[in-house]
Amino acid sequence: CRFLTIALCDAAEPWQLGSQDAATPMMQGIIDLHHDIFFFLILILVFVSRMLVRALWHFNEQTNPIPQRIVHGTTIEIIRTIFPSVIPLFIAIPSFALLYSMDGVLVDPAITIKAIGHQWRASTQPYEYSDYNSSDEQSLTFDSYTIPEDDPELGQSRLLEVDNRVVVPAKTHLRMIVTPADVPHSWAVPSSGVKCDAVPGRSNLTSISVQREGVYYGQCSEICGTNHAFTPIVVEAVTLKDYADWVSNQLILQTN
């Protein structure tokens, strides 16, 4: 985020104006699209303000007291109809391409993770890893509570750190199933370019593939109740081997 820093930024920082650094191809695509659109946006801004300023400058009561009586000009009318419709077309092409590539539901994922929004007590996001179950009851689940405001240790982000992070393997296709248990929530991680609404009675899917190891921060992005502001999401991407180790350790912890 900052100029000339080498470390990549995966959490929000004070007075941040730009996006967080991309951790997935999806987010990279979003940032690129944003920059592409800004190219057109600046062109239009300059052109329109030039017209506006010029019109105000030349055609006011002092400099030009008698208004001209032009009722139509075919050429200018054609140009100013065609051009504004072509510009959105140029913006729409990369935009739709990105939109549909983000919707890549039909890629076989390697891991399914369920994020289940809860409002109960302090808002929380319990997670379920059920790929390793052998029965309905036994399942790798854990709650992910925010670290209270007076509790964070040095280096932790206030109201952004949780006790149990979601551990995911990097460079692996993940299927996130997002659903709430009570009210609507939204599972969002800006660095991954993911924001998936959790709608009661419905399970939504979003697929991500984190490209580098790191810790990624996000927050619940749907006003979900009194403790909405205290619903952080922390994703920790590790290597596949470390992920396997973590899962087996968690399974041992939970069975004991």
Partner: protein, 178 residues
């Protein structure tokens, strides 16, 4: 092991490795198993696998001190004696017993289904649940060919839903065609 030798270039970082396709493709399950098989014995050979694991995690997360509290409440919850900091030392003796009971982690999940190409996966989960129970009804309890459906629906359905549906089936109020 965390960095895997060299730091990849930006282009490499954003391109998916071809080796990853093996893991995703459920038809190539065996290759996934074999990679796991490599992982597991390696663990039993070394005396402190948990030690190695925690070190690796500390390497990957940029701030090691941040990692610590993330583990502590887990330990409290499960009332297990292991605490993240001491987990390394403690589990070195727990490792011997853990090594043989360490569950094998097979990286596989329900495949993408062409019947459900949308973001809304509610039906996907429900259908897999019904498929499993129809399979059991047809082939009998514990039929090996039904197990995959069980894995699929467990991967896709929130456990709360499964609990509720199981209850409904017991009461005979399950709304689906079984």
């Amino acid at each position: 092991m965390a960095a895997e030798g060299k730091a990849p270039s930006l282009a490499e970082e954003y391109s998916l490795p071809s080796q990853e396709v093996q893991l995703q493709n459920p038809s190539e399950e065996k290759s996934a198993v074999s990679t796991v098989a490599e992982v597991v014995p390696e663990k039993s050979v070394e005396t402190a696998p948990a030690n190695e694991a925690t070190v690796a995690v500390e390497e990957t997360s940029q701030t090691p001190e941040v990692k610590e509290p993330s583990d502590e409440p887990e330990a409290e919850e499960s009332s297990a004696a292991e605490e993240s900091g001491e987990a390394a030392e403690e589990s070195s003796d727990a490792a011997e017993e853990a090594a043989d009971e360490k569950p094998e982690i097979k990286i596989e999940t329900a495949p993408a289904d062409f019947r459900f190409p949308t973001t809304n996966q509610t039906r996907h989960c429900f259908t897999r649940y019904i498929e499993y129970h129809r399979c059991v009804a047809a082939k009998g309890e514990g039929a090996p060919e039904c197990e995959k459906f069980a894995k699929y629906y467990r991967s896709l359905c929130p456990s709360e839903w499964i609990e509720r549906w199981n209850e409904q089936r017991e009461n005979g109020t399950f709304p689906g065609p079984l």
